[in-house]
């Protein structure tokens, strides 16, 4: 028999007709495939989203960086005073020691405090960051308007600030912020530039922080206007206010080569542990965090993948089940077709095409569902999800493959029926 496109279309049409005849049954049959395909796509979208977040976070922290943060040590039980002056964290001595490590290319310290920034009658809570002019370089921070402060601004302690994109948007919705004066506390500063918008990332293993609300100024300026003390927001009035004296809040250490990141982190740890008796610092290695995040994502993917696989297999069994029922139901029809000249191959085609149509319809519905679920997850669970086109192709391909795999047995069973027996079947 010659095989033509026309003939294939007729087989497809006949298959579709049979499926359409049993609409409800067909719909129930494909549910397994629908959920299987949907879960494959959503799983990949959520996994992809998580690793995207991790990559973004690394970009934000700098993949070549080791970050040392000041943390408040646990309060000592002996301290009974209401007003305390806690002194802790990273010191200029630490800075000098770390600078001498050969693999350290650059070290940028910061001093940070939560404050309010004012422009006209508008105000906004921000994080003030006093730092070095190299900060944008090590943190991959881009300046969209104006410029960052320079070494000279730093040396002369100019009253300049660079504001994050959200600060710019909220304080200057209609104006160009560059050159405007803003007030922080009781002091006025000139806006020198605006930093580009950065994704808010809350991936596995990281704390969420929105650096779009940062305001940067030279460390010298910051020291001049605000010193090194900060008042904690403990509440309970002045008597229980919690003052702290912190020299630096963060060191951003840029390492010369990727291979040396982990070793450098270990050396930094060694250096700091000898002079810090209290655990008042924390070392973050973005690269290691990335690996951790990738590991977590992988486990997540395996678990979800297993669920999706089970769902698809169950879907396939559903199709096989219904196809076997169809074969039994249509035994006489098979006998008639065989008597009228259908070859075994024709019967196989007929039933296989039906199984494939079923699973492909399931696949298409599953794709739609699989694209919608991540969107819903993003909306309600505030997670980044990314539906990649190849995940759709894979999922749809799997659904068709399932149709073939689980359709072949019933189809063969139909084809190998004895036509004489089949004709006699009631």
């Amino acid at each position: 028999m010659k095989f033509s496109l026309l003939h294939a279309t007729r087989i497809l049409k006949a298959g579709w007709k049979n499926i359409y005849m049993h609409k409800l049954r067909s719909l129930l049959t494909i549910l397994g495939i629908v959920f299987g395909v949907a879960s494959v796509i959503s799983m990949l979208a959520i996994g992809e989203g998580a690793s995207f977040e991790a990559r973004e976070k690394i970009k934000e922290l700098g993949s070549h960086n080791v970050i040392v943060k000041t943390v408040k040590p646990p309060a000592e039980a002996t301290s009974q005073q209401n007003v305390t002056l806690a002194s802790y964290g990273l010191t200029p001595q630490d800075l000098m020691k770390i600078e001498t490590i050969p693999s350290v290319e650059k070290i940028v310290p910061t001093w940070e405090d939560k404050m309010d920034v004012w422009y006209m009658e508008k105000n906004l809570p921000i994080r003030l960051v006093g730092t070095y002019p190299e900060y944008p370089a090590v943190m991959n921070l881009e300046i969209t308007k104006g410029r960052f402060f320079t070494y000279i601004d730093y040396k002369l302690a100019h009253p300049y600030v660079i504001i994050g994109s959200s600060v710019a948007n909220q304080l200057f919705p209609l104006e160009d912020p560059v050159g405007k004066e803003v007030r922080i506390g009781v002091n006025y500063f000139t806006v020198l530039g605006v930093a580009s918008e950065r994704a808010i990332v809350s991936g596995v293993g990281f704390e969420a922080e929105d650096i779009n609300f940062d305001v940067y100024m030279p460390l010298t300026t910051q020291r001049m206007y605000y010193g090194e003390y900060s008042v904690g927001e403990k509440g309970g009035g002045i008597r229980s206010s919690d003052m702290s004296w912190v020299r630096y809040h963060r060191f951003i250490i840029k390492v010369s080569e990727t291979e040396k990141i982990v070793t450098t982190a270990a050396i930094v740890e060694d250096t700091l542990s000898s002079s810090h008796k209290k655990p008042d610092y924390e070392i973050l290695v973005p690269l290691q965090l990335l690996k951790q995040a990738e590991h977590t994502t992988r486990i997540f993917n395996i678990v979800l993948g297993a669920i999706a696989a089970i769902s698809l297999i169950v879907g396939g069994i559903g199709i096989m089940n219904i196809m076997l029922a169809t074969v039994t139901e249509r035994t006489r029809e098979i006998g008639i077709r065989r008597a009228l000249g259908a070859k075994r191959k024709d019967i196989i085609n007929q039933f296989l095409v039906e199984a494939i149509i079923l699973s492909a319809i399931g696949g298409v519905i599953g794709v739609f569902l699989g694209v919608s679920i991540p969107a819903i997850v993003t909306k309600f669970a505030d997670m980044v999800t990314i539906v990649t086109y190849w995940s759709i192709i894979i999922a749809f391909g799997i659904s068709v493959a399932i149709g073939i795999t689980f359709g072949i047995y019933p189809a063969r069973k139909a084809a190998w029926l004895d036509p004489i027996e089949a004709l006699r079947h009631e």
């Binding site: 028999m1 006998g335 008639i336 077709r337 065989r338 008597a339 009228l340 259908a342």
Partner: protein, 225 residues
């Protein structure tokens, strides 16, 4: 007249456990082109087995079956299917129409498996529906037709591939006498126009329509007339 079918010493034995059941014992028969032959015998005489072998649905245990120039007895399943689709028209007692297909689709079914263009199939099916007088009913489903009409559809279906011969198995078995007579007259009429007809029946009235009657009993041909 040339013989289009030659059966030579056909034997068919069924194996039932350890017991061999001979159903056809040494049958030799020639069927000529254009003839209307009836095969008559009581139930259990081997009529159905004869039908299966003649219809290329089954192969004999031994013996030769030559259909036109083809030795059919040793062909594989695909070749047998091919012969069924090109050379044989089947008419069954219970019509054997496919219930979810329309009349015209049922009529065209044998051509479907020859891979013929749908448009040509439809034209031809329509023509066949005309021959059996069902032109008005081509869009109906078999369940919407009477028994006699269903059998007419089956006849049209048997004719569409222009077969070497038509094999009818109790064509009137499910019909009342009057309708049965109409069907037999239709078949006889087709035979007049040159269609070779082989009718299997247990009813002597039906057998008598044939120009030649073969009687079978216990797997052997007892009389040819």
């Amino acid at each position: 007249m040339e013989a289009i079918i030659k059966l030579e010493n056909i034997v068919k034995t069924y194996q039932l456990g350890d017991i061999q059941i001979p159903v056809l014992k040494d049958i030799s028969l020639e069927i000529e082109r254009g003839i209307h032959m009836s095969l008559m015998g009581p139930s259990g005489s081997g009529k159905t087995t004869m039908l299966n072998i003649l219809g290329c649905l089954d192969t004999p245990t031994s013996g030769r079956y030559i259909l036109e120039d083809t030795e059919v007895s040793s062909l594989d399943d695909d070749r047998l299917s091919d012969i069924r689709s090109r050379k044989i028209g089947f008419i069954f007692q219970s019509y054997n129409l496919i219930q979810h297909l329309t009349v015209i689709e049922n009529i065209g079914l044998p051509l479907f498996y020859q891979g013929i263009d749908e448009r040509i199939v439809n034209e031809k099916s329509y023509e066949m529906a005309g021959i059996v007088g069902l032109k008005e009913r081509i869009r109906h489903k078999p369940t919407e037709l009477s028994g006699g009409q269903q059998q007419r559809v089956a006849i049209a279906r048997a004719l569409i591939n222009n077969p070497t011969f038509i094999l009818a198995d109790e064509p009137t078995g499910n019909l009342d006498t009057k309708t049965g007579k109409e069907i037999m007259e239709l078949l006889a009429n087709l035979n007049q126009q040159g269609t070779t007809l082989f009718v299997i029946t247990h009813d002597s009235k039906i057998a008598d329509y044939g120009r030649s009657v073969v009687r079978i009993l216990d797997g052997e041909i007892v009389r040819e007339s």
